[in-house]
């Protein structure tokens, strides 16, 4: 049997630089007759080597640094006999080391406000103990022990929380509808489908703080009156699935899920359902179809899901970020939450800031912050030498907001008014090397693949729009294309059933609205000013600026640039594939993008100064 000791003294000994300390301690303990009560343990290095020999006394957790042989009698007398700490040996913060900026002083964090992402990157997502230690499950405990479902709903209503997954529907209202809907069996569902390209906030949340989602969902289950919750996650998020799974298991062990949660008599369970990663399955009715094991196609919504959703039972679907907002609201109260943000958009929103900024990443900001603050202050602005051209929000069916509108506050209404939307939180920053026709084409191409095909307008309309856009970027645009695009867009919007079709034309409409002249240049002038659509551009050496350094010669994958040192080089337009490698490496701005029609095609030295023949494609 293991012997029991009253106290342990753990000595870590500087890689053996102080072996006498252990024997001195043992001797002193012997002398005082404490050898049977106190155990001296030699531990490995603890990484405090600069602080001299380090000594830890358990169970008190007293921590002494820089312990010398002469300190031993005092430690034994004061701490082990009398139970007091020897102040002068206690660990002290090194006074001032060189200044390292605190997180809140780093620009990336200083304008952020972390409510939903409070634990992400701070705790071990696999450890329920760490979640509980930082205050986790307090909200659920409070709800189950002292609130009625009606009070919970009232608190959510007071908070002004709106859905974080897309449309921004008032969460409290949705809960109330579900609670009041007729029927014994109801469901609460977390939407973790997150299909927007470039968006990963829901993934980060499910991976980094899975218990927050579970806790929110459990509170929601209690409020709407159900025993069953579902989390719908795309299977492309294996780590999210894994962390959620282990979180559910731990929560069961701790009595925080399952029957009689926290001894309150409330039974609640959560199941994870993995989706195959179809964008349309993020749409509420398609998601519920998919949950039922059917093909994920949306259905008409004259009957709300809150009345008849999953298996025709009243169902309350919210985005995972919405759910993770619930515990803090319960802890601090709806009024606290409502004090953050703007008149009609409360709290904070997580965004994935990606694209042409210096600090891309996952951010959480109070509603009402301006796009400029996000892009310049948090994102650090565009890369050197570039300029911001637009910010795309709202996912593939969101819109592009031009740089001239960067002072727009980020809230549901302002974004919608500007022709975009909040969406679930993708935010793609574009610089002057981004072609808006190409961007619209990219999103429409994505949506063409993701349309489920149920409505012919969406299925065919998006496809035709893509054809036109592809033609325009290939130099085959013709007068009248823009008008056809606009009329197709209106039809798709009007006659499609679900949000996918209704919003699919947004990328086209918003780029047409703000960047129409760029479309016109593509069609009328056969030129892509951003230098992206390869069929419409040529690269040309500006002889006055070129110092003949040879960088571009080395960079060209086609071996299509020639010239002697310190003499202006020339690009062979026949060999050139418009990859832009020369443009990127040139330090003197001596390579410029010009319309195809501005260069001659000839194997020896079309340097761009001669008048032009038609380019043969």
């Amino acid at each position: 049997m293991a012997e029991l000791y009253r106290a342990d003294v753990l000595v870590s000994c500087l890689h053996g630089r102080s072996p006498e300390l252990v024997s001195a301690l043992k001797q002193e303990l012997d002398r005082r007759g404490l050898a049977g009560e106190v155990k001296v343990v030699e531990t490995g290095c603890r990484g405090f080597c600069t602080m001299g020999p380090v000594l830890t006394i358990q169970p008190n957790g007293i921590f002494y640094t820089d312990v010398q042989l002469a300190d031993v009698p005092e430690i034994v007398e004061e701490t082990l006999v009398k139970g007091r700490a020897v102040q002068r040996l206690l660990y002290k913060e090194p006074a001032t080391r060189k200044v390292i900026p605190n997180y809140d002083a780093i620009p990336f964090y200083s304008k952020q406000m972390r409510i939903v992402l409070r634990n992400c990157g701070m705790i071990d997502p696999q450890s329920i103990d760490e979640y509980i230690a930082v205050g986790g499950y307090e909200a659920l405990g409070k709800v189950l022990s002292s609130m009625t479902p009606e009070q919970v709903i009232a608190e959510v209503q007071k908070s002004g929380l709106r859905g974080r997954g897309g449309a921004g529907f008032a969460t409290g209202r949705k809960w109330e509808h579900t609670r009041k809907a007729a029927g014994e069996v109801k469901y609460v569902i977390a939407n973790g489908d997150e299909g927007d390209p470039g968006a990963f906030m829901d993934r980060a949340l499910m991976e980094g703080d899975p218990y927050a989602v579970l806790e929110g969902l459990t509170i929601g289950g209690f409020a709407v009156g159900t025993q069953q919750g579902y989390i719908y996650v795309r299977d492309e998020y294996p780590l999210a699935v894994q962390n959620l799974r282990s979180a559910i298991d731990r929560a069961h062990e701790y009595g925080l899920l399952g029957s009689d949660v926290l001894g309150s008599g409330f039974d609640f369970d959560i199941r994870i359902v993995r989706g195959a990663g179809a964008f349309v399955c993020g749409e509420s009715s398609a998601l519920m179809q998919s949950l039922e094991g059917k093909v994920g196609e949306p259905r008409a919504k004259h009957v709300h899901a809150t009345d008849r959703g999953l298996w025709d039972r009243p169902s309350c679907l919210n985005n995972v970020e919405t759910w993770a907002n619930i515990p803090p609201i319960m802890n601090k109260g709806g009024e606290w939450f409502a004090s953050i943000g703007t008149e009609r958009s409360k709290g904070t929103k997580a965004f994935c800031l990606v694209g042409k900024v210096r600090n891309p990443g996952l951010i959480e900001v109070p509603m009402g912050i301006t796009l400029r603050e996000i892009v310049d202050d948090i994102g650090g602005g565009p890369p050197k030498g570039r300029e911001i051209k637009a910010v795309q929000t709202g996912g593939p069916s969101g819109g592009c907001i031009p740089a001239s509108m960067l002072d727009l506050p980020v809230d549901y209404e302002s974004l919608t008014e500007a022709g975009s939307m909040m969406g679930s939180g993708g935010m793609i920053v574009m610089d002057d090397r981004t072609c808006m026709v190409d961007i619209a084409r990219y999103f429409i191409d994505f949506l063409k693949d993701e349309s489920c095909g149920k409505c012919s307008t969406c299925r065919e309309g998006i496809k035709r729009m893509l054809e036109i856009l592809t033609n325009i970027s290939a130099g085959l645009g013709k007068p009248g294309d823009i008008e056809v695009l606009e009329s197709l867009a209106k039809t798709v919007q009007l006659a499609s059933l679900c949000g996918l079709g209704k919003s699919a034309p947004n990328p086209v409409l918003s780029t047409l609205h703000y960047f129409r002249e760029e479309y016109e240049k593509h069609i009328a002038e056969q030129f892509c000013p951003a230098g992206v659509c390869r069929a419409l551009i040529a690269y040309q050496v500006v002889a006055e600026k070129c110092k003949g350094c040879g960088l571009c010669i080395k960079a060209c994958p086609q071996e299509g640039i020639s010239g002697t040192a310190r003499q202006p080089h020339a690009i062979d337009q026949v060999k050139c594939i418009q990859c832009g490698a020369c443009f990127e490496v040139c330090r003197l701005d001596a390579i410029q993008v010009v319309p195809r029609s501005a260069v001659t095609v000839g194997s020896n030295g079309g340097n761009g100064y001669k008048p032009v023949r038609e380019v043969v494609r």
Partner: protein
């Protein structure tokens, strides 16, 4: 683990867990590796392995734990080092080859490797 039966029990457990974690952090070194998808994609797994190997070789007793995405995905792999209750120092873009130097200078000599530091959480 017996099931938690009430809010009071939860609070008692929390107080104890806090104490445990405090005791752990106060008296030792915690190395936290960002292991969200962004971290893993940037090579955090390899970095963590080198930390584990290096700590074992040098017989340094530190807790190596993982955490999720803290947002600075472009600076992943991120590694935080916290010694006793001191600040949590974050290193960014940590490559496996940087690990020995971080251990040598930060853990053994007590100097943060300034050039790789992103910031600290007090």
């Amino acid at each position: 683990m017996p099931k938690i039966q009430s809010l009071e029990e939860l609070r008692t457990l929390r107080a104890q867990l806090k104490q445990d974690i405090k005791a752990r952090t106060e008296t030792s070194t915690t190395i936290t590796v960002g292991m969200g998808t962004c971290g893993i994609a940037a090579g955090a797994r390899e970095v963590m392995q080198v930390f584990l190997d290096e700590l074992a070789t040098r017989a340094i007793d530190a807790h190596v734990v993982t955490t999720g995405c803290i947002g600075m995905c472009s600076k992943e792999p991120l590694v935080d080092i916290q010694q006793s209750d001191g600040p949590r120092i974050t290193y960014g873009n940590v490559h496996p080859t940087m690990v020995p130097r971080i251990i040598e200078e930060h853990l053994i000599h007590g100097n943060t490797v300034q050039q790789w530091v992103v910031g600290q959480l007090a």
